[in-house]
């Protein structure tokens, strides 16, 4: 047996997973409650004791960690046009596992200046203009950032014709120049920026967040937790040299404050005559709905889906549903305690999934013109995706995961939304996806074997 320890430093929990890479299998998981104030070594030591109570003493040959501690990798981004470079900046940051606090477009205002100073991000991503295109906006925004001051690094990935000028404006700051996120109009080039974000995270953020205290114990903190999840999802879809993957997939993680959706699929139109509108979509896409969550953002679910529909799905009165929503919103640690609150919680989770997957998926619209019917697709086509992965506390601890997940499927009442038509639902019951993403950096075959073993089918719906 060759056990490896995988650690996820979260904001509230330190979670440990032990895996055997010799004959690949999950050995056990445990977690311990931590706060921002607690020394993270205490949380880790505590979690390890709990783990070894279950597994017996383990002699780890390697220890790897990911982190979303201290609010995760907090980023701000600014671009020029909202649908173009600003969207590209957001897509790049989310794809690198960041928590995007806000994305600005056009020239930063005095109010923005105040807000940026207050938010004090870990990284600022400054973009805008295609190569050879607009330079006014990015140079203006560089001047605003220079005026704001602060010590956070700035990644410049806008119009290359403005890069050096921006660097001069920001003299004295840590500035990293990357290739433009949109070098030519309508093309997306986010990988160089994502690589830079990861490097800054490793070199700087890990230290700044006090995670180096733990570094003697572990072989390395390798990535932000969402990045580990994305890595695992890509591995699961594509497979390794030796083991096949399961193909295109969608993954949902409904949390207390936000809901993350991942898709691994090209997402191209079924009918080749369809014209594509909007930015090209990345093969692995992550979106985060900041207003959709089971506790802190519970009112966002109600605003987006409607109290009446949620109450109907839960089979309780609208008034009672409203009371339960308020109660959960105020008591963010509260778990469902009876049948009624359980139904309410599951109905809320169902609509959280529906709203978030609908926002993630693309749309196909029919336009009648002189030339007859014309199909126009924006975003990703996920109709043919047939694997739906479910993770996150609110969904993996209920028996009805399959039914809740089916709210993320194609819906006849919203026929233009390109959500998956029919999916096998796989549940991350042991909550190991991020850990396997970490493990895959060194032992991809073992990580994939364990993922395929541990993700449990919860029926095929629809």
């Amino acid at each position: 047996m060759k056990p490896v320890l995988l650690i996820d430093f979260g904001s509230t929990y330190t979670k440990v997973t032990a895996a055997d890479i010799d004959s690949p299998r999950l050995l056990g998981t445990a977690n311990s409650y931590t706060t921002v104030q607690t020394d993270i070594n205490d949380g880790l030591a505590d979690a390890l004791i709990r783990l070894e109570k279950k597994t017996g003493k383990l002699d780890f040959c390697a220890r790897y960690a990911c982190s979303s501690a201290a609010g995760g990798l907090r980023m701000l981004a600014s671009g020029l046009v909202p649908e173009l470079t600003a969207e590209a900046a957001k897509t790049a940051s989310l794809g690198a596992g960041a928590k995007v606090l806000k994305t600005y477009s056009f020239k930063l205002t005095e109010d923005d200046e105040e807000e940026i100073r207050r938010l004090d991000p870990d990284i600022f991503l400054l973009v805008g203009g295609t190569d050879g295109g607009n330079t006014d906006c990015i140079t203006h925004n560089a001047r605003v950032l220079a005026r704001i001051g602060g010590t956070y690094p700035i990644i410049l990935a806008g119009n290359r014709n403005a890069a050096r000028e921006c660097e001069r404006i920001l003299e004295g700051r840590e500035v990293h120049i990357c290739e433009n996120v949109m070098p030519r109009f309508g093309t997306l080039n986010i990988e160089p920026t994502q690589k830079q974000i990861r490097e800054v995270f490793l070199n700087r953020i890990v230290q700044a967040k006090g995670l180096t205290q733990a570094s003697e114990l572990i072989s390395g903190i390798m990535m932000p937790t969402p990045s580990a999840v994305m890595t695992a999802m890509e591995l699961l879809a594509k497979g390794t040299k030796n083991i096949p993957g399961i193909g295109d997939l969608v993954a949902v993680d409904v949390g207390g404050a936000t809901t993350d959706i991942y898709s691994v699929a090209e997402g191209l139109p079924d009918d080749p005559r369809t014209s594509l509108k909007g930015l090209p979509e990345p093969y692995i896409k992550r979106t985060v709905e900041g207003d959709i969550g089971m506790r802190y953002s519970i009112h966002g679910i109600v605003d987006a889906a409607g109290l009446d529909r949620i109450a109907e799905a839960a089979g309780i009165s609208e008034q009672r549903m409203g009371e339960i929503v308020d109660m959960f919103g105020e008591n963010t640690d509260m778990l469902p305690y009876d049948e009624e609150t359980q139904s309410a919680d599951e109905a809320l989770a169902s609509f959280a999934v529906r709203v978030a997957v609908t926002r993630h998926a693309g749309r196909l619209e029919e336009v009648f013109g002189i030339g007859g019917l014309k199909l126009v697709q924006t975003g990703k086509n996920l109709l043919n995706v047939d694997k739906f992965i479910v993770t996150g506390g609110s969904l993996i601890h209920t028996k009805n995961t399959g039914r809740i997940a089916s709210y993320g499927f194609y819906d006849e009442e919203d026929p233009t939304s390109l959500k998956p038509k029919s999916c096998e639902v796989l549940v991350d019951r042991s909550y190991i996806i991020a850990a396997m993403g970490l493990l895959s950096q060194y032992y991809p075959d073992a990580a994939l074997t364990i993922l395929k073993e541990e993700l449990i089918k919860d029926g095929t719906s629809k």
């Binding site: 046009v81 649908e83 173009l84 050879g132 607009n134 109009f185 014309k374």
Partner: protein
């Protein structure tokens, strides 16, 4: 001298792709940096592309007779978006039926289009006009 940037496309629900494609090649060969948005392009898409690429001109094509409706308000939206000095051209079957072109041109002028071109205009004519209006010396 620096290349001038043009944003081109077919406006509205119009799917006539061929003429626009010919313009793309002709303008590129003539030394312009051309951003081709293709068919079924909304006013907002023309404007967004022009902002990001710092375009010098927007060249709108329309073949299906609805051009006058589709183009209405484009100049005002450009002004609103900070593109006050951008050159606006339109060409094709831009109005319904056969109307005297000088009247059509007058109407499009009033809508803020610097130049309009009747059906069958060879690309060379547009290129000459662009060179003149953008002060490009041979």
């Amino acid at each position: 001298m620096e290349k001038k940037t043009l944003v081109i496309g077919v406006i509205g629900a119009d799917v006539h792709a061929v003429g626009n494609q010919i313009l793309y090649h002709a303008f590129t060969d003539a030394g312009f940096n051309v951003i081709n948005l293709g068919v079924m392009v909304s006013q907002e898409e023309f404007i967004n592309a022009a902002i990001e690429t710092n375009a010098d001109a927007i060249v709108v094509s329309s073949l299906y007779g609805q051009g006058e409706l589709d183009c209405r308000g484009l100049r005002e939206k450009c002004n609103e978006a900070g593109l006050e000095n951008i050159l606006l051209y339109v060409g094709g079957n831009i109005v319904i039926g056969k109307q005297p072109f000088d009247e059509v041109e007058k109407r499009f002028k009033a809508m803020g289009f610097d130049r309009s071109f009747p059906p069958g205009t060879p690309p060379e004519v547009d290129i000459e006009a662009l060179k003149e209006d953008l002060h490009i010396e041979e």
